[in-house]
């Protein structure tokens, strides 16, 4: 269902709602375009002309300064005009519905909406109702998906460890509530990864995760054995403790990445985390920015994949990068 919305009749990207079901070629095209942008923005002047005169609207129904910034930086690097809309008080207290907000901003000739909402399916809803030529980019909808986070994880894994089809990847922690985990697993599978592991207590494993292609472990030691990539998931401490977990300390004892557990990984294994990290919970403080950590590089790559997605959807495509000096 997703793809009839995400792709146009020629199979080109129209909206980005979820990694689930994206064709392999398109996924690779996004990652390759991100790599192009990595080279094109290596100098002091990081401005590219690709989206000049286009309008990108950050339409955030829940606040996330950090995520909003990544899309704002990406769009501005491509010379788009960016309008930030934090919707809550103003519009909704006036009774304007979700759809009225979309239609109103569309009418201002916005080209692309970066949508974040705490309800799963919100981005799909917008994409279903968007006018022709208006694109929706999902920046996180409830527990459902956060596709650019998945893309930046895939980009980072590929850049450091090579072809995902040859790798063992372990996701650790709150898989149940993680839209990042869903996006990562879908993406890894599409790129041919056959050894995807999820490591978590039974209360944090969603039903049906094996059908997505992941093997379940309830302890770190066997799960981490020989993996190339450890993807730690953020623990939403405030909502988890009590209901799903006894305490942050116990979680760290059982599922935190410590130096001892680190030794079980492959020698050149890398550690990833979508951020922001809880030091001493998902990971020991000294490992967070250690030499095998790619956490900050994930942030940098997040700009690149967001530029790539915006450019593929809105850019003049074939000649888009040729205009770069």
């Amino acid at each position: 269902m997703s793809n009839s919305l995400q792709l146009d009749a020629q199979g080109r990207l129209r909206h980005l709602l979820s990694i689930d079901g994206l064709p392999r070629d398109l996924l690779v095209q996004i990652l390759d375009r991100a790599a192009d942008f990595s080279r094109a923005t290596a100098g002091a002047d990081k401005k590219l002309p690709n989206l000049r005169g286009r309008t990108v609207v950050n339409l955030f129904f829940e606040p996330s300064t950090r995520t909003r910034s990544t899309f704002e930086v990406a769009a501005k690097r491509l010379s788009a005009d960016v309008i930030n809309l934090q919707v809550s008080a103003s519009s909704t207290t006036k009774g304007e519905t979700l759809l009225d907000t979309l239609k109103t901003m569309e009418a201002m000739q916005a080209d692309l909406f970066v949508v974040r909402h705490d309800a799963s399916g919100a981005a799909h809803f917008f994409a279903e109702h968007a006018a022709p030529g208006v694109a929706i980019l999902n920046a996180g909808d409830g527990r459902h998906a956060h596709p650019t986070q998945g893309l930046l994880d895939l980009y980072t894994i590929r850049a450091h460890q090579g072809d995902p089809a040859t790798l063992s990847v372990a996701l650790v922690g709150d898989v149940l509530h993680s839209r990042v985990a869903r996006s990562d697993i879908h993406g890894l599978r599409i790129l041919g990864c056959t050894d995807i592991r999820v490591i978590a207590p039974p209360t944090l494993i969603p039903a049906g995760i094996e059908q997505m292609g992941a093997r379940v472990f309830h302890a770190m030691e066997p799960g981490l054995e020989g993996v190339d990539v450890v993807m730690l998931l953020r623990l939403q401490k405030e909502r988890m403790l009590g209901a799903f977990l006894p305490s942050a300390a116990e979680f760290h004892r059982d599922f935190g990445l410590t130096r001892a557990r680190f030794a079980r990984l492959k020698p050149d294994a890398v550690v990833m985390h979508p951020g922001p990290i809880n030091r001493g919970v998902e990971i020991a403080g000294d490992l967070a920015y250690g030499e095998r950590s790619l956490i900050l590089e994930q942030v940098a790559n997040g700009i690149l994949v967001r530029m790539a997605v915006m450019d593929l959807i809105l850019g003049s495509d074939a000649c888009a990068l040729s205009g770069v000096p």
Copy 2:
């Protein structure tokens, strides 16, 4: 009084505070310039160089994400730098007065202030005290005026129904509290419209409305008979119910635009509303975005008239559009 502030010695636009009293030629010039911008921004690259290097400050003393966005988009399309200032907490708790805020921002060499304030006359006050070369654009001051809303309504009416001098226009609903209604009536009169009707319960009709050139109706059926344009006014439900109106449902029963009442209009009549609409109050939900509704086009035209006003005030005028490819 307004015009000695709004126009310079050569009759050119200096501030835009109110439509009331604008010369007909100037009003037509604004609408024509907006039409020029409609053509110039029809392509993917909607960026024009007219206000390059100019600084536009959105100085909002009451929050309005939607209105702020329209001015921000318009200014950015013209290549201006835009600074958004939501003034309340920060400045005023420090005891800085209105005037100090204006003078401070002026000193930063801001060229144009888009001012919104809940007090009638705030924009006039700023214009009276603005330094030479600094322009004030009223984005709504209390119940008084919202001139760019009036201009976009005039633009939309002219584009769809032709010369306002030949038309019958009905404004429906809360005329009493509506700065939009005042701006529309003034503008229609200046353009020669002789059949302006206001339809509302007696509690929502301001004193002296007949002197402004409008005929009063207290029922929809006679008021809508044969009109070319129905302009619905937004009902501020939260402040109205109880004091001025029994209930939203009763308002809809008596003054809502329904399909049955729609039949009384001329066959090619159009429906307008400044937004955001209250579905099922001012208008039946299925009519809001129906084929005769211009509600979203009003939003689009709002960008164009705001560009036109900014360009006429700040642009290099004669040659302003010649720089456009």
Copy 3:
């Protein structure tokens, strides 16, 4: 200690944390560059290409719309992309530490952070941990320093009264809590000023002020005698009254600048204030924007010195202004 952070091995500006200890030549270079920018932005198009493709992040841990605007305007005039981050709710409630915020934004290839924080030393902390090539500009850290305010005061004094080495300057009011006073005194000393006076009640004079090179007066009349410049300091009424001062009225009676006291100054003396002013407290209302007041010119010059600092840190230096038509 400051300078090992602020300057690189060649003595060029790398971060701006405090005026304290800046070499005289560098201070003069900043003021001269600001004067260059004054000429270069005198026309209608105030946009310069110097920081094109660079990203400036306003990282504000305490709200200050006014100060944020000055940096935003300065960066945009130089064609930088600007990201505004008001950090409080979003990031810190997620437990992200100060350092994680810095590292995350650095990873997005931000070039310069304008940091404001209510803790003294926050900007130093960021500068100590910033990656190579990433600059920190202190926009006020607790009571410690506000170097661009100091620079704009020096620029304004030099532009109007000439070489500070020949002048008498009096700072009046809450010296104890004023980061502006510290920055001004350091800067005036570096430029050779030998007659610096502070005028305040004993409760508002910090220990060790004489060691900084200032003479202390506890009454206006002797302190103002024959000075070229009176720098009024802002009284933070809400935190001061009761604890440090009996009342705002008493402060004005004893330390307010009145017309009678004004007569004691040199005939061509000027009055300055960092703003926003408390009318009738630090200064009589009619003097605030009088002919000898430079208060608004300070705001204008604030843009120029901020452009100068950003350009010296990030610009291509030697050829930076040659690109300006």
